[in-house]
């Protein structure tokens, strides 16, 4: 049981996929202008990551080693199509706003990385939990970045005005490069607290 707890907690802090392993940056930065989009993206990644880890883990003894990348990509692509169709049906506006980035979950390194590193060698239930926890670690950073970008860039949260009218929105925060700088600062803070993670 201690092992399972480790599986769930590790990806959220010590082995966070974004700030420590530097995976899945591609999609994480473009969708963080608004908190709403970031939350939908986070939930989609959690769902895709958990389900595809579960399926690959169930199939792990039947996949030939040489073609495993293609098999994994097909499983992940199927899950992403399901999520995309679901969003198109129930949250069309958000789906339009996220545009190609939902499709790009297929090549999100976190999903592939967890399948390669964990799901191929473990039983289905731990794999499912590992996938979900990694998706959650990713979502957490996404929401933190989106919180600051929406608050400083538009003075709103989830579209509701929070800061008084006297605050002039900082347009730089909405532009793409600021997401990278903000993420750099989050990594800085994380490593300042946890000295073990510092690079020599």
């Amino acid at each position: 049981m201690a092992n399972l707890k480790e599986t769930i907690l590790n990806p959220i802090l010590k082995g966070n996929p974004i700030t420590v392993l530097v995976l899945g940056i591609c999609s994480s930065l473009a969708v963080t202008v608004q908190l709403k989009g970031a939350c939908v993206m986070a939930l989609s990644v959690i769902a895709v990551c958990g389900l595809s880890s579960l399926i690959v883990s169930l199939l792990r003894n039947t996949i030939p080693n040489r073609v495993r990348i293609i098999v994994q990509l097909v499983v992940v692509a199927l899950m992403v199509i399901l999520v995309d169709q679901f969003l198109k049906a129930y949250a069309y506006a958000v789906d339009k706003q996220l545009s190609v980035y939902i499709g790009l979950i297929i090549t999100n390194c976190i999903v592939m990385g967890r399948i390669e590193a964990f799901a191929l060698g473990n039983k289905p239930i731990p794999s499912l939990l590992d996938g979900l926890a990694n998706g959650f670690g990713y979502g957490l950073i996404l929401v933190v970045v989106a919180f600051f970008r929406e608050l400083l860039g538009s003075g709103t949260l989830f579209g509701f005005q929070v800061l008084p009218d006297a605050y002039i929105p900082n347009n730089l925060v909405i532009l793409p490069p600021f997401a990278l700088i903000l993420l750099g600062c989050i990594i800085w803070a994380h490593r300042a607290f946890d000295k073990e993670l510092q690079e020599k």
Binding site: V22, L29, I69, A77, P176, P177
Partner: protein
Amino acid sequence: MEYVSLFVKSIFVDNMIFAYFLGMCSYLAVSKNVKTANGLGLAVIFVLLFTLPINWALNTFVLQPGALKWLGPNFADVDLSFLSFIIFIAVIAAFTQLVEMIVEKYLPSLYSSLGIYLPLIAVNCAILGGSLFMQQRDFTNLAEPVVYALGSGIGWYLAIVALAAIREKLAYSNVPAALKGTGITFITVGLMGMAFMIFMGIQL
């Protein structure tokens, strides 16, 4: 003229890295020195140049709503666009596997310098992202996706070589301990992105 404009735009204005953050994972992981960055950059240009036109053809003649008209009037309102993710990624994965096998057999020296990066490209967001943007752009003939692929590939190549050159210098500078490595790299890329934003207003 139209093609020149598309070409320049896809290199600078719609730069894969600085405008869309595509291919960030390998961009950050493989940019520690200029030599390997060079290899990966060239491999990306090559794969993009082939997979994007193939996917364009598949999209135009099979996947788009009404694309199957050539099979007969009964197929005129078939819409297979929900299959596009899986078809595109299958083409990309199959192509990279094929290229890997060909290069391994006939060009062993290139394989040993590039070998590890080829399979990595299958999961490079820049490649799939290129195909997905192509789908949104409604190109009308084969030349446009080819030019677009070449431009985006070169843009990605320039970005990774530039970052690698900066990081080689950065290794000797005195950075706060907690910011070393990943942290300072992110901030550097952010500053480079700001520099690239001057291209945004350009109309061609």
